[in-house]
Symmetry: C2
């Protein structure tokens, strides 16, 4: 069957519907696909609709969420909020296992380092940033000249508005935008189901459909000790979407690479992705080994293991896409088409054509450096990462604002402090195990004479260095970190804290590598990526949205099942399906039922929809995105994609190939709140009753 089907898909693909007809794109709010909406869905939002949706969209723990009441209530995925929930858990009180519901606002639990942001304003800075680059500047000089105007704009507007303002590069520097965000730093846990209800089916069912997951959590933003007033919020739909209904997902897709050149994609395929796999596998394996030591160790390691398993499964799908000759050929054809269009206009040709070769040439240098760039890193332990940030803080803040690493510019220092001073629990034994495994792998990959390895280990071995560093450091105490940040710079140089010493030793090597990468790769990409973007604008205008970069986007599509093999996959699942899948496996893990679902089975209307699929163009980071209808009512909560969609980092995959986003159904969440979790008050807050 498969072969006929694949052939059908290929033919179908070659005679594909024109781009304008596909539900393609993660669009910025300044450039919404209004004509597609009107043409295909007869939908014409007002300016009020657009503003309201933007202001109700919340970035939370690096992913997405939305306000769902006027009192700061935020909905997101359980797997997005799980770091918050895990941090609020202890050996004795494991909220991941038991779930949580605050019956009163007084019972809501304050997260230890969560931050929620909302995009308040945006402004096109492209001319100012491009204008700052002097004619004849080298790539590195141009980067420096851009930094000056960017850092100044960020600082000025942050001071003026009291918001967190950042200049965002879009289209590899083809555009620059000043985005200003409101930050909420007092975030409290309101309600979370058991992880087993939220992540039923585990890594097996992740990235598949049909799904049966209550992957939601409710948080609340507070200001000045009171629930934040959030007049812009999504009304909760009690019925959810109908089949074929138009829907929009608003959220923060993390990263796509659709506008990369063929040379960049080929590098990802041959070197980048395999190395990334090795890095993640090393870190996943360290956690897994640690988790086997006991139940408490398992609890500590679980969120990390889940996160790496998820990332690895997604990476496999992405790499499969790059390895698929038909898919890759499409990218080559796209690039060829653009370059041929360019060739028709000699003046553009002269200006932009060399950009592809320049990038390709830069990338020829990368393979020789890529192992050093990947494995010379201290990201495997939170303590060493804190130490490294403190060391860098003092180095960078000694410089003028515009000369710093961007993450240490004045406009970003509030976020830096929130992160480094978080009182979230750190598990010393787990840190030691992760750091040891990481350093051992670095020795294996880079060799004992590598500069990073020499700096990190000296004459000791990995486990000695790691053990000493994690056990003897004072950084476990946020007050100690605060002292080092607020103290004099030379206290760092003199510190005998073994973790600070480790960070200090490796820092010169890391800086040298970062500089190499900027000079040889990033600056070349910025200069030439800008040219390619301008060539693309000349050919296609702004009809192609920029690659996702963790900023607010809108995707759209319709709620729709699909064909798979010879049969049909329905557009939704029901609670019946959850019990079927659990009992079909005789409840063998990960198909065991959370205890509340077990005891409340007879109370639930099992025909209530649980999850559904829709055609919008989403990617990692869209987890927790509100899925809304044309009345801006929340009908679902995005939490996953299916396998057919996994390689969409590199290209849009048409809905006819079965590519779908997966959401929790709004009616399923209400049913669970009311019948499973006795959270009627919360349900009433959502429905305004």
């Amino acid at each position: 069957m498969k072969q006929f089907w694949v052939l059908f898909l290929i033919i179908n693909f070659l005679i594909n519907v024109p781009a304008a007809l596909a539900d393609e794109g993660m669009w910025t709010y300044d450039n919404l696909p209004l004509s597609q909406w009107k043409q295909r869905y007869n939908f014409e939002p007002t300016k009020e609709w657009i503003d309201k949706v933007r202001l109700a969209s919340v970035k939370i723990v690096g992913s997405s969420g939305g306000f769902v009441s006027p009192n700061g209530l935020i909905v997101t995925n359980h797997h997005v909020a799980s770091s918050i929930i895990a941090q609020l858990s202890t050996k004795e009180r494991d909220l991941m296992k038991t779930g949580f519901y605050a019956r009163t606002q007084g019972e809501e639990l304050k997260a230890q380092d969560a931050e929620a942001t909302v995009l308040i304003s945006y402004e096109n800075m492209t001319e100012r940033v491009h204008g700052a680059v002097k004619s004849g500047a080298s790539n590195a000089e141009a980067a420096g000249q851009r930094s000056v105007v960017i850092a100044a704009a960020e600082k000025d507007s942050s001071q003026k508005t009291g918001l967190k303002c950042e200049v965002i590069s879009m289209y590899s520097g083809g555009e620059y935008w000043l985005y200003c965000f409101k930050r909420y730093t007092d975030i409290r846990l309101v309600m979370a189901p058991e992880e087993q209800a939220a992540f039923f089916g585990g890594d097996f069912d992740n990235f598949t459909f049909p799904r049966h997951d209550l992957d939601f959590t409710f948080l609340r933003a507070y200001e000045n000790g009171k629930p934040a007033r959030t007049p812009n919020y999504f009304k909760w739909s009690e019925t959810g979407p109908k089949e074929n209904e138009f829907v929009v997902a608003t959220g923060f897709p993390g990263s796509t690479a659709r506008l990369m050149t063929v040379a960049q994609l080929a590098y990802a395929r041959e070197h980048g992705n395999p190395l990334l796999r090795q890095v993640w596998e090393t870190r996943r394996k360290a956690l897994e080994d640690y988790s086997k030591l006991g139940a408490e160790q398992f609890r500590q390691a679980s969120p990390g293991m889940r996160s790496f398993a998820n990332a690895l499964k997604r990476l496999t799908g992405q790499q499969d896409g790059l390895l698929n000759p038909r898919m890759f050929a499409k990218k080559e054809a796209e690039e060829k088409e653009l370059r041929e269009k360019l060739a028709q206009k000699p003046e553009l040709q002269k200006l932009y054509a060399p950009a592809w070769e320049n990038i390709a040439k830069a990338y020829t240098e990368l393979p020789a450096m890529s192992k050093r760039l990947s494995f010379s890193s201290i990201g495997s332990s939170r303590l060493v990462s804190i130490a490294s940030q403190i060391v860098n803080y003092h180095i960078e803040t000694a410089k003028p604002n515009e000369r710093r690493y961007p993450e240490y510019r004045d406009s970003r220092l509030d976020a830096f402090r929130t992160s480094v001073l978080s009182p979230a629990p750190i598990y010393v034994e787990m840190e030691g195990a992760a750091l040891t495994a990481w350093l051992e792998e670095a020795v294996k990959v880079l060799g004992a004479n590598d500069p990073f390895v020499r700096a990190a280990l000296g004459d000791a071995n990995a486990s000695e260095v790691a053990r000493r560093a994690v056990h003897e450091t004072k950084l476990i105490d946020p007050a100690a970190r605060k002292g080092l940040i607020e103290g004099p710079a030379d206290a760092i140089a003199k510190s005998t804290d073994p973790m600070i010493m480790l960070a200090r030793r490796v820092e010169p090597v890391l800086r040298e590598l970062r500089a190499w990468n900027e000079r040889h790769i990033s600056d070349v990409e910025a200069a030439n990526g800008t040219k390619i973007a301008q060539a693309r604008f000349a050919a296609y205008g702004r009809s192609i949205p920029p690659d996702a970069n963790s900023n607010l986007r809108i995707s759209y599509g319709s709620v729709k099942g699909y064909e798979e093999d010879t049969t049909l996959v329905p557009f939704k699942t029901t609670f019946f399906g959850l019990y079927d899948r659990a009992l079909s496996f005789d409840e063998a893990s990960p198909y065991n039922l959370a205890s509340s679902l077990k005891t409340r089975r007879d109370k639930i209307d099992l025909s209530t929809p649980l999850n559904f699929v829709y055609t919008a163009d989403t990617i990692g980071g869209n987890s927790g995105s509100p899925v809304i209808n044309r009345n801006a009512e929340l009908v679902g909560l995005n939490f996953d994609s299916n396998l057919q969609k996994l390689s969409n980092r590199y290209w849009y995959i048409d809905e006819n190939e079965g590519s779908r986003a997966v959401a929790v159904h709004s009616a399923g969440i209400l049913e669970a709140l009311r019948k499973v979790y006795d959270a009627g008050d919360l349900a009433n807050e959502l429905t305004g009753k």
Copy 2:
């Protein structure tokens, strides 16, 4: 994901477990895989076990079933019994739609032409048949010499035992067996669910898993107006199988082609299967067009449409298998290995080696004839088929027994009469539509000057010929057929019945083609197939069972889920899953619920298992096979295979590739009988309560 996965499967396949470890084979009862059972499942059946299972296995409507009470009660699939159920239906009383349950034996409905048979005895005839061939005989002479001894043995043993005795060729003539069957010709309908409950999900879900079908029907064999006494029957298991439990399927697999030569398989791939598709598509399309004329026409055409849809889906899977280079290469390697083994023994080499070339050479002649062989046929209408059988009956019975076409030998005439004299309803308009469409396609494919087309149509067009034949024939009346069979042979020659005239006109063409095929293909295959079989015996003994040929076989394996894409498919489904799938599609057809399932939902224990998968080697014809445990208790009723298994006509597909047979669960059937169909008495007859 797919690519990594496929690669894994390929690697997995190349380092496959040795043949002896796979659950391979449809075994004859004279050569059961006892050592495999003992070694892999620690199962050593007694002779009593084996005899009882054989005598409880029933061939019904060309497929499989089993006795499930001492009073002649037979269980089979709804889709096997559907021809019986449809024949007992009328426009006013559509049992396919409503289902049926006879609350008393008096209400059981007698089928119009059903026959059930049981294999009572078998005897090896190989030496006698081979011994009958005189040294130096040509292929055609050898065929004639074999016919003499075969026809005599069939006639003698039929007369001696009162059973229906047939000589069966196994291994392309490598072995001959005399099989004697008890025939039951009074078969009554006891209970059938609605077709919508039996075939929920329709052609989409056919050949997939998870499934949710109540695909069962109960019949009863009568003798002398009373329920037959059937002391050998399967006890009904109230609990069904556990995961990983050893099970056996006993039934009548129709046809495999695993021992074909590469030349024969290449012909199937290049010519045979595409032509078969065209033939079936033509016939399916004719029924579909007819079904659109109205509800009653739809009712009449439904069983035929379903049957062709099923056959076409299976054929697609088989052809995909042949088109798969990895699969086909395995056949080439198998053949090469056998021929290399042969080459090591010069005496065998001389005797057997030319067989492959002889068959390959014969097949080079086939493509030029294949369209004529495929489209010179009158199988599209039941009336014209009856007419043709009557015409042939007189031609053949005028000859000595051993010279006749095998189907007109004395030993087969009882079955011939049952079939031709069946009072089952014939829908004249549907016959006309089917015959017209068929003849029109024949003209298109063969051309107006083709001998068959000229004989069939003369100067008229297809629809005139068809209309006159179906409307003016007297053959609609079984008494008229009886008169022609029992009347003198020259009544046929003189008949002016337009259907008899049509059959008479085309008969010489059909005979000429049949003779060509025997001389150029079948006789060559028989002579050389026998040699290849003997070569295979010399190399491997009887460790490879013969190809399936609609005779009784045992398959075995274990009840087991499998991996698909990145996730797990459970070994069973529950009633929860049925309701989930229906409601997930908002009950859009073919996912609408049968009305009884709708009204009885709250009465059912929804956690009851409904369908399950197991690893046994089965194929079309195994529909309705009892799936039994080591105590010979019926734990399930085979009704389907999944897509992964579809190409197993040509090769065994290992369970690690996800290949599975699908069965209705014995507990699910009991739950449906008791809670959905108020058939408690029938349930009690099964459980002996």
